[in-house]
């Protein structure tokens, strides 16, 4: 019976060396149930190594970890029985058709009945949009079609945990859109742990993010908090008209710590840093609009793009290493 715990992936100082070269260093990872965890990092950061360690395809040099409460070294067969996995470059027996691959994969998890297995296979083919090519040998499949088949075989057992290594890497925009939608739907049933270098995808579907660099987890956390940045809450406001009195009103507030002003043509841009989010939310716009000579053309909270955060984190890490 599966042991239940809200933490699905839990590693403690997990390390992996290859011939003395450190591929992964003291990885402490926690992935909560039903989350979509985006695992980011530049090429060679150790993302695939981590995934393989979690599945028991390679053994850790030191450290420990559990997946679905099963030990990654001693109970990895049980981990794989409850997990779906899409490798970075999915490879199948070339002489098989897509339907045969899914049938073969399904039999690792189910004895039968045959009619139900066939139903599941057809459902998966339909889900990833390759039903028309279902009975053709895989050797004629494009990279995108192989990727879709890879996703189908990873999901054939409705896994409690879905591990995807670069799931959208070789897909066209339509395929990418389909996979991201699918991931959002699956959140209800599964926990999804996926590696990617496509930051837009992460920003769109993930709720938690981990950034790996040179085998070290350099940042992790809730994506909203990460996108909010570390500078505190900042409002970006674009104004027109006479802003002098409005500026005085706002700058006199105790919860306003800084106002950065930029002028361009007839537009004035304020970047207001606040110390109390609740008060700012309640009063800031009202204070500005008290003055009838001011028009507000744009008003929003500053959000970082994931790419900014990603580059910033990597840059900081590189500086530490130097």
């Amino acid at each position: 019976m599966l042991k239940h715990d809200p933490i699905i992936i839990d590693t403690h100082d997990l390390c992996k060396n290859y011939d003395g070269v450190v591929a992964l260093k003291n990885l402490n990872l926690k992935v909560r149930k039903n989350s979509i965890y985006g695992f980011l990092g530049p090429n060679g950061a150790g993302k695939t190594t981590t995934i393989k360690l979690l599945l028991g395809l390679i053994k850790p040099t030191s450290g420990s970890g559990t997946v679905l409460n099963y030990d990654v070294t001693r109970e990895n067969l049980q981990i794989r029985a409850h997990t779906g996995y899409l490798p970075q470059e999915p490879r199948f027996y070339e002489y098989m058709t897509a339907r045969e691959v899914l049938r073969f994969t399904a039999r690792f998890f189910f004895y039968g009945p045959k009619v139900e297995i066939e139903k599941r296979v057809s459902e998966m083919l339909d889900l990833v949009g390759i039903e028309k090519k279902a009975d053709r040998p895989i050797k004629g499949f494009s990279g995108g079609e192989r990727q879709r088949l890879g996703i189908a075989q990873a999901m054939i057992n409705y896994p409690e945990l879905l591990i995807l290594d670069e799931p959208t890497a070789s897909l066209d925009p339509l395929g990418r859109h389909m996979i991201l939608e699918l991931m959002e739907k699956l959140r209800e049933f599964s926990t999804i742990f996926y590696s990617t270098h496509i930051l837009d995808d992460v920003q769109r579907v993930s709720d938690t993010v981990g950034i790996l660099n040179r085998g070290t987890l350099v940042a992790k956390g809730n994506i909203e908090k990460l996108l909010a940045g570390s500078e505190g809450t900042i409002y970006l406001i674009t104004l027109k008209g006479d802003t002098e009195n409005a500026y005085k009103n706002v700058s006199n507030q105790s919860w306003v710590s800084n106002i950065d002003v930029q002028k361009k043509d007839d537009k004035i841009k304020w970047q207001i840093k606040v110390t109390d989010e609740d008060l700012a939310e309640e009063k800031l716009l009202r204070l500005i609009l008290e003055n009838e000579k001011v028009k507000v053309t744009d008003y929003r909270l500053k959000q970082y793009e994931l790419e900014e955060i990603f580059l910033q984190v990597l840059e900081e890490d590189e500086n530490v290493i130097k």
């Binding site: 393989k52 395809l57 073969f104 998890f109 189910f110 139903k119 409705y158």
Partner: protein, 260 residues
């Protein structure tokens, strides 16, 4: 999405989990394609064809001489085919990434190797030992005009199969150590030829699989069985069986250390 409740879930936690699934791939790749037809035709042609061309029409054929010839072709040539067929069995899957894919499913590494061994042994035994063995029964009976026991030919075919399974195990084991098909093929190939010379070293003949087919003095084991004589020693059969088990154990041990 439907649920898993309608499906009967695999619950085994140990080595037998997924064995039949992997075995079906090994058997399907052979019997669902035309491989088995070509292999059967080829080996019936090589084993039975050469004997037929050599002995049909000859007068006063000595059954022992015919069986010596039959044993020589069986002992030397089919192992070469086995090595060629199996050199990529493990290495090919390691290189192409299919081994990594299969092992990411709930299956142990021992089962992966064992299913390959069972599947290959069955496929090769039927097409390269049993069918040519049955054809040989009719062929040798016809050429010599003597009545041989059909059962003795079947037993002899199992001994031919044992020798081939020795090479299957040897090649699979080497595949777990190497990443090059050439290296995997070279060692058993050299061993296959070298045995013909090693047999002349006193006592060593008892330790070699080739003694099942070849003997410097008297009849080799398989010929004695067909002729209804006592075999000179059971030791080569036991040693061959023991080496097969040893190769399998080493393959299990080595493959467990492999990283994918």
């Amino acid at each position: 999405m439907s649920s898993n409740e309608a499906l009967e879930q695999v619950i085994e936690k140990n080595w037998q989990r997924s064995f039949l699934n992997l075995l079906s791939v090994e058997l399907g790749g052979w019997w669902k394609s035309k491989t088995w037809i070509w292999m059967t035709l080829l080996w019936v042609g090589v084993i039975n064809g050469i004997s037929a061309l050599t002995f049909i029409g000859a007068e006063d054929i000595d059954p022992e001489a015919l069986l010596f010839f039959y044993g020589f072709t069986n002992g030397l040539f089919p192992p070469i085919a086995v090595i060629i067929v199996l050199q990529e069995s493990i290495v090919g899957e390691k290189k192409s990434g299919t081994a990594s894919w299969v092992l990411s499913k709930p299956v142990s590494r021992n089962v992966f190797i064992f299913a390959k061994w069972v599947g290959s042994s069955f496929n090769i035994f039927i097409t390269m030992a049993l069918i040519p063995g049955i054809v040989s029964f009719f062929e040798i009976t016809l050429i010599t005009g003597q009545n041989f026991s059909f059962l003795s030919f079947i037993v002899a075919s199992f001994l031919l199969g044992l020798n081939l399974i020795f090479y299957i195990s040897f090649t699979l084991m080497l595949g777990t150590f190497q990443n090059s098909a050439g290296a995997v093929a070279a060692i058993p190939m050299v061993f296959n030829f070298t045995q013909q010379f090693l047999i002349s070293i006193p006592f060593v003949e008892y330790l070699l699989p080739t003694t099942i087919f070849l003997a410097l003095e008297g009849n080799p084991i398989f010929a004695s069985i067909i002729l209804g004589e006592d075999i000179f020693s059971i030791l080569p059969i036991i040693i061959t069986g023991a080496l097969i088990i040893l190769f399998l154990v080493i393959a299990f041990w080595r493959f467990e250390k492999e990283e994918f």
